[in-house]
Symmetry: C2
Amino acid sequence: MRKTILLLLACVMAVTANAQQALWGAPSIVSPEVHPDNTVTFRMNAPEATKVQVTGDFLPPQQIDTPYGKFDAPGTADLVKNADGLWEFTTTALSPELYSYTFIVDGQRMPDPSNVFQIRDTASITNVFLVGGDYADYYKINDVPHGTVSKVWYESPTLGMNRRMTVYTPAGYEKSDKRYPVFYLLHGMGGDENAWTELGRASQILDNMIAQGKVEPMIVVMTNGNVAMEAAPGESSLGFKAPTTQLPHTMDGTFEQHFPDVVKYIDSNYRTIADKKHRAIGGLSMGGFHSMHISKQYPDMFDYVGLFSAAILPHDGTTSPVYDDLEGKLAKQFSNPPALYWIAIGDKDFLYEANKDYRKMLDDKGYKYIYRESPDGHIWKNWRIYLTEFLPQLFK
Amino acid sequence: MRKTILLLLACVMAVTANAQQALWGAPSIVSPEVHPDNTVTFRMNAPEATKVQVTGDFLPPQQIDTPYGKFDAPGTADLVKNADGLWEFTTTALSPELYSYTFIVDGQRMPDPSNVFQIRDTASITNVFLVGGDYADYYKINDVPHGTVSKVWYESPTLGMNRRMTVYTPAGYEKSDKRYPVFYLLHGMGGDENAWTELGRASQILDNMIAQGKVEPMIVVMTNGNVAMEAAPGESSLGFKAPTTQLPHTMDGTFEQHFPDVVKYIDSNYRTIADKKHRAIGGLSMGGFHSMHISKQYPDMFDYVGLFSAAILPHDGTTSPVYDDLEGKLAKQFSNPPALYWIAIGDKDFLYEANKDYRKMLDDKGYKYIYRESPDGHIWKNWRIYLTEFLPQLFK
């Protein structure tokens, strides 16, 4: 009787949720399957399809023309029908990384139906899989003490808004009376307060590197850098409104001006060490731009600054006082220089030249920074790696 | 220059993530579009498809045969190519609800490519949309004070594991010194510690009902009821392992036996009022079964008990001491009866008879409970409604 009801329970759930899938005796498909030699097999059951492809960042890129120049887009590979009637494709051995992909069935993009694990990047949803080893082991959830990841709403008097952020507190935070340093970690254009934990594997990287003693236990605060939004798409009073990169006020000084509200909220509500020596700020792309401007706008606030593929833009065309007198503000910031000013960029990043110009300005003034150049372009692979490299340098 | 770089930034992101979509000048599709009269239009651009359908819980159900009997599965409707070459379907006016759906393109299920909002129920991913009004307004994110939702790892000495749970702390928790009552809210088979916040809209319901003064501010603890798992699929050291309902130890007494570890963790790490009068437990389906057994196993722990479509099973065939002597333990529990023992079920639920038998046993013994019968079956629609009805009765 009990077994029957258990089966019934399982069936009801499966049927109501998923009536179209063959439930009764259908072979379950494993896709993707990461083999011990790091080759990966994709499989799909699509009996009516005439062409099934996979596109993902593990395939050799294809160059595409756009009105703004040539860009590398993820390549594609064809799946082939195997003896069981399943479409299948196996990669060459892949290097360690968190990869993303989707299928294309008769010209129509769709997720891999056998893989429930997906991440959203602005309006694009892709499946993910992980090939472990090397730095990619930091992206795994390992059996180590885990920090708490919270979605927290804070009040911004400057903006007159309640806004959402993600706060990581390290394992042991709840049980101790200790005070902790704080790292403010900012996302790029099109991102939100979920980006660093979902696409950036920030909480896994922190858990693993803290457990290994490579990184100081710290609070990490991941804000939403789009001040036109209260929160990530689907998480605000706008409801299920489609995400977009075309938001107002992303880089007009407003986010930078409100940032002391964030720091004040964190210092008031968490056990922080509330001084410059114990505060870091860093971010990717637009978040690197924000980090650069916030750290020089409030020169007594942050002792560690990380610019990851920073969207360093000339401050023409905007009228915010935040962008006035860059040189004067940098002079003030570097008169009592940060303990670390870290600039990282990929050698194929479209912002490479803009960063080179910025570094030249710092060089000309004699401002000290550490420079890290990596392969590849403006991609999450780099930003995850930069995070694993930046964190061990903080609060030491 | 700045504008160009902003455009470039937007393009790079869009291209690398989504190379196959028409980026340059393609009309953006709105789907689903909820009209002011509560009809809803679905749209899809699938020029190569010969048949496009939508299937979802807002369509009249279709009965399907299974080896375990007949079940209602979501119905389907055909999209029709409109003058612009887009596939389109408009519903009749829908009643307020959080609905879920997917497309079927030439026999292949796939999400709506224009809707990034999805929820996972075990291994099924569906798109969602919300038709507001009535109780469905509680499911919206409104501009009210929001609680904090945290993913917290706790130690279970009983299981020798670290496990993940979701903890809701009400707005104002961080800033006050107040102590709060605690409601333990449990999921069903195939669910996990994310189910009540993702499928159940628990944090929206709590935020809205607390803001309206209908519900006492409380801490809500949503555990993972599958003791074979540390955490939800993709969130544990098993990595990206496909979810399944076929887990060991789901209803063998182990979860119930470990439950005092959860209560102890919460009472040690949160500002709780740590007594029976200020503790509630409730859950859906398997979580209702767990709530029934935990509350009678530890009769001094919970003053409020909610059984939502509870999977009340005869305790034959299992050997756990938790399921021994049900009548004796209920007698003990009801000798100092809970302030509220609330049983709710849908009149089409396959567990209706099992619940009726259980109520008869309570009636025969003279144990007091409140019974709520709703329309429909074993579905999230009911469980969200039950939550909105159970919460206002707690801690009053």
